[in-house]
Symmetry: C2
DNA sequence: TAGATTGTTAATCGATTAACAATC
DNA sequence: TAGATTGTTAATCGATTAACAATC
């Protein structure tokens, strides 16, 4: 194909990550609005107020997923949700394997709602023989030895890493060698992968650092105000 | 030394969030370098290569936590780690409660490494009487009724929400009423809290959306290239 | 019509990256 | 000294916010 003028190719236009990260929030919010309050339209103004965001930002975000609204009434929630599901891959879910069936792995296995976002966890793997053939949330825990074979047979593209940090790189290498193209990493270990393989880091410490810092700043401010108070 | 001229008040200078989010990654990386490779210095150049970041960005980040390096040799890892621990609150940890002792709650209770980042999980609470007085990772699971009393008695400031999404707001309200100032929310529910209370959202769907999107873009690109290939 | 809301174009803000002098 | 690396100042880039005309 490769048509001429239109500066970036289709495959080069990529949604900004901040926008992408907000879509699931909108989705969750709107679904609730629809189910609990039986609303069928919502304006960027009300959404912004409820979610503590800027209405202009919301309109820009919604533009990215191809949604349009009506002046005076806002956006049709039904249509908006459909757009989002489409965008997030609800209608084109990817299969995934989890490696590591500890508490975290089991929590992920049981997490409902991944399907909404296009992820279908098929099974888990664990090196502990005691866990082999266990069922968690209706999904099988298989022995590690079967990993490569199963990845190939089912053409799995996504691997979820919920193993101890010191095993992360080894397991990741095995996944990649077997054909996995995207790794969702729940360990704090910074993985090295070949070109073309995607790694998404889910680092709890990162979030915690943000939370602790905000709290610290707030406490500092409170203390200062306290002082000023004393002071006068 | 606290010299004069510096326009904004101490409490107004706040580290940029992107920088803050990278600190734990540096920390984890450097600790490994120190322990596994017995290195005692590292340059922004090598760190950048290993972590796929820009060296200038790393230098700027390190400046924020007050670290300095030496031309030619780089940064002293020992000192760097100390700075980071100090910055992340390792020496000034906050106590926290978890509410919800399901798989996720138990995974969090057992997560080692929170201490490194200034968080000390004291106990968990669960409404399921079967779980009452259970021990997880050496920490007690207490019945929900005791929540308010314990928060007040121990002056807990941080609450971790690992309950089902439909209970999130109710439990959050109870936490806040009892005096909790920061809520780490692991449910997908968007919480409403009074002014002055901090909420940190740990939304798995958000990360997943990013991962799925990157994979989709990569597959699209691969497909396109495949076509071009065919084509010529 | 009047008024709220969309959607677009322009301005602002902040983070990343570049350029380069200072330094060990 | 020569050369790699720091740290600072300036340029760039991208996201957020503002302004406002179009629209139902």
């Amino acid at each position: 194909m490769t048509e001429n003028r239109k500066p970036p190719t289709a495959s080069e236009i990529v949604i900004p990550e901040p926008t992408l990260r907000r879509i699931p929030m909108y989705y969750q919010y709107l679904k609730r609005k629809q189910q609990d309050e039986r609303l069928d339209a919502s304006s960027s103004t009300t959404m912004a107020a409820d979610l503590s965001l800027n209405p202009i930002q919301i309109r820009k975000d919604l533009e990215w997923i191809g949604a349009t609204g009506k002046p005076r009434t806002g956006y049709d929630i039904e249509i908006l949700l459909a757009h989002m599901e489409d965008f997030l891959g609800y209608n084109n879910a990817h299969d995934a394997f989890i490696v590591g069936a500890g508490h975290l792995g089991q929590a992920l296995l049981g997490y409902e709602g991944f399907e909404d976002y296009g992820l279908n966890i098929v099974a888990a793997f664990d090196s502990d023989p005691a866990k082999a053939d266990m069922l968690v949330a209706g999904k099988k825990v298989l022995p590690m030895e079967k990993l490569e074979d199963m990845v190939k047979r089912l053409h799995i593209l996504i691997g979820i890493l919920a193993v101890p940090s010191y095993e992360a790189q080894t397991v990741c290498d095995r996944m990649v060698a077997a054909g996995i193209k995207a790794v969702w990493n729940f360990t704090p270990y910074h993985l090295t992968v070949p070109d073309g393989v995607i790694v998404q880091h889910e680092n709890m410490a990162t979030s915690l650092a943000v939370l602790a810092n905000k709290l610290e700043v707030a406490l500092r401010k409170a203390r200062e105000q306290g002082n000023h108070h004393d002071h006068k």
